[in-house]
């Protein structure tokens, strides 16, 4: 599965990394936005369309059966990876945002005026806006867990926000803008003390951490394949069986029905109740291949390699005069946000791109965090296990060069 025997050379599994951009070897440090794909994942997409493409759960013919088996086998793999109790608790979605919207939609009839939903100051817009829209529909009120200037959530403030009015808590496992790992076990247990439902946005955690949804005891957990070496346009929503049974269907259509008459329609059982229409079959199947690949690399190795990269990048970037790290939480994944005094992040990003380095600049879809720090945005370098210390060196020298040009 992992083609490179020596994990130190694992980047060779990723053909896209071999290219040059703007005449320089590509150094890809925008993994937080989307990870790159190993050859096995790329091959699996071709293999699907070359050998078994057919619609699933419908046809009696052989190809349809093969495609259905592969799709359901992938669901099973994801169940095992996340340690869900049942495979039908894993719903395929378009991605994290889609999963959050599904739950927010499902709670429309379950909330009423004056109920409270808690999110945190560290959320991506995708874990704010669907809840604001739910509040508009139901008259519920949005509350926000504040953070300190290191980018850590304040748990004593969270405790104060919780009450019998709290019906739903939605926080990210890891902050996309700052890399903070949030104390989700504490957040989940506390929410349950008040019988509140808890959703964890795992988009930025799952590329680095293997979560155990039963041990965490969260009600919902969402993530996207494309940040985990998998294809775009597919993700999963893990939901506890009891909640998936309580929530009404999200969308109506084929596949999610048991029986349709013009008078009445009854819905299919889980997971099909929430999977209307022909899904992203190739995406679902190949997500399983990506999960296999990441497990073959091993999350122990992934964390060790990324911790080393984070420490090295921290150490080297700090040597640049006028560089300010944004987000210095104790617990972090391999994401570094920073600014250079006197320079706009956009200018730095534009110049380092010319030097072959792909970083993200801007507000990272987390405008409340930028408002907190009173900055227009940051430069964010986000590392995956296939990045190297040499990549960090190229980043550091590119930032120095950009600074020289701009100041």
């Amino acid at each position: 599965m992992v083609l490179e025997k020596d994990l130190k050379n694992v980047s060779k599994d990723f053909p896209i990394l071999k290219q040059e951009v703007n005449g320089k070897p590509l150094v890809y440090l925008d993994n937080g936005a989307s990870s790159q794909k190993p050859q096995v994942v790329i091959d699996a997409i071709t293999k699907y369309y070359t050998e078994i493409n057919a619609n699933i759960h419908r046809g009696v013919h052989t190809l349809s059966q093969k495609a259905t088996d592969a799709y359901e086998a992938s669901r099973k793999k994801l169940q095992v990876h996340f340690n869900a109790k049942h495979d039908f608790e894993i719903l395929f979605t378009k991605g994290t945002t889609d999963g959050i919207n599904l739950v927010a939609s499902g709670f429309t009839t379950l909330l009423s005026k004056g109920d409270e939903i808690i999110v945190s100051h560290l959320e991506h817009h995708s874990n704010i806006v669907p809840w604001q829209m739910l509040c508009e529909r139901t008259g519920a009120v949005l509350k926000v867990i504040p953070m300190n200037n290191k980018g850590e959530l304040l748990m004593d403030e969270y405790d104060k926000l919780l009450s019998d009015k709290t019906k739903l808590v939605a926080v990210n496992h890891v902050s996309n803008a700052l890399g903070t790992i949030n104390p989700i076990k504490y957040i989940i247990d506390k929410a349950h003390e008040y019988d509140a439902v808890i959703l964890i946005d795992g988009a930025q955690a799952t590329p680095h951490i293997k979560p155990d949804v039963q041990a965490l005891n969260c009600d919902f957990y969402v993530c996207s394949a494309h940040k985990m070496c998998g294809p775009t346009g597919v993700g999963i929503l893990y939901g506890k069986e009891e909640w998936l049974n309580i929530m009404p269907p999200y969308q109506g259509g084929g596949e999610m029905i048991k029986e349709v008459t013009f008078e009445e329609t009854t819905y299919a059982c889980l997971p099909h109740k929430f999977e209307a229409g022909t899904p992203n079959i190739a995406g679902g199947i190949v997500f399983g291949v990506a999960i296999d690949y990441m497990n073959a690399v091993g999350f122990e190795y992934i964390q060790q390699q990324e911790d080393e990269l984070l420490a090295y990048a921290n150490q080297e970037l700090k040597k640049i005069q006028g560089l300010k790290l944004i987000g210095t939480a104790q617990e972090k994944v391999s994401v570094i946000s920073f600014n250079i005094e006197g320079c706009h992040p956009y200018d730095i990003g534009t110049i380092v791109d010319k030097l072959g380095v792909a970083v993200r600049t801007g507000h990272h879809c987390t405008q409340p965090i930028m408002q907190f720090f009173d900055i227009p945005g940051t430069i964010r370098a986000s590392f995956m296990f296939y990045n190297t210390k040499e990549d960090v060196d190229v980043l550091v020298s590119a930032v120095k060069k950009a600074k020289m040009m701009l100041l």
């Binding site: 703007n22 706009h344 956009y346 200018d347 600049t361 801007g362 227009p376």
Partner: protein
């Protein structure tokens, strides 16, 4: 000078540079010479919101010609605005509306023209032209 003449002048200036770095350094220089918007006009309604950097643009009619002033919080964006303003300022609304912006491609800044590009260059050009539409009716 006509818009076309100014554009050829810019193309000539940029053709002197061998690589992107010199081009960007020149752009940063141009950014510093941008006719800065008067602070009273640097407000929300004159803000062109790109995803990443802010641009304020203001225009006045002076002897039937439009005079543009602007500012941005990012220096490369300032350079781009400055190139646009040098091209379009002190021209009549009809000339501005008739002009194309193909020269952006010729001076090697085409990448900034993509509609997804976060600096909002496309929005800037649109706003420059919108001012021209607005002032066209006032030209005697």
């Amino acid at each position: 000078m006509t818009i076309n003449e100014i554009q050829s002048e810019l193309v000539d200036e940029f053709s002197m540079f061998d690589d992107w770095m010199e081009r960007y350094e020149y752009m940063i220089e141009l950014g510093k010479s941008l006719p800065i918007i008067d602070s009273q006009y640097k407000k929300e309604e004159n803000l062109i919101k790109g995803c990443q950097s802010k641009v304020w643009l203001y225009a006045e009619l002076n002897n039937n010609k439009i005079v543009y002033t602007a500012d941005s919080d990012a220096i490369i964006t300032k350079g781009i605005v400055s190139i646009l303003i040098r091209t379009f300022t002190n021209q009549s609304p009809s000339e501005i509306l008739a002009a194309n912006t193909n020269f952006i491609d010729e001076i090697g800044l085409k990448e900034h023209l993509s509609p997804t590009r976060a600096n909002g260059l496309v929005s800037m050009i649109k706003q420059i032209k919108l001012y021209a539409v607005a002032f066209q009716t006032k030209v005697s």
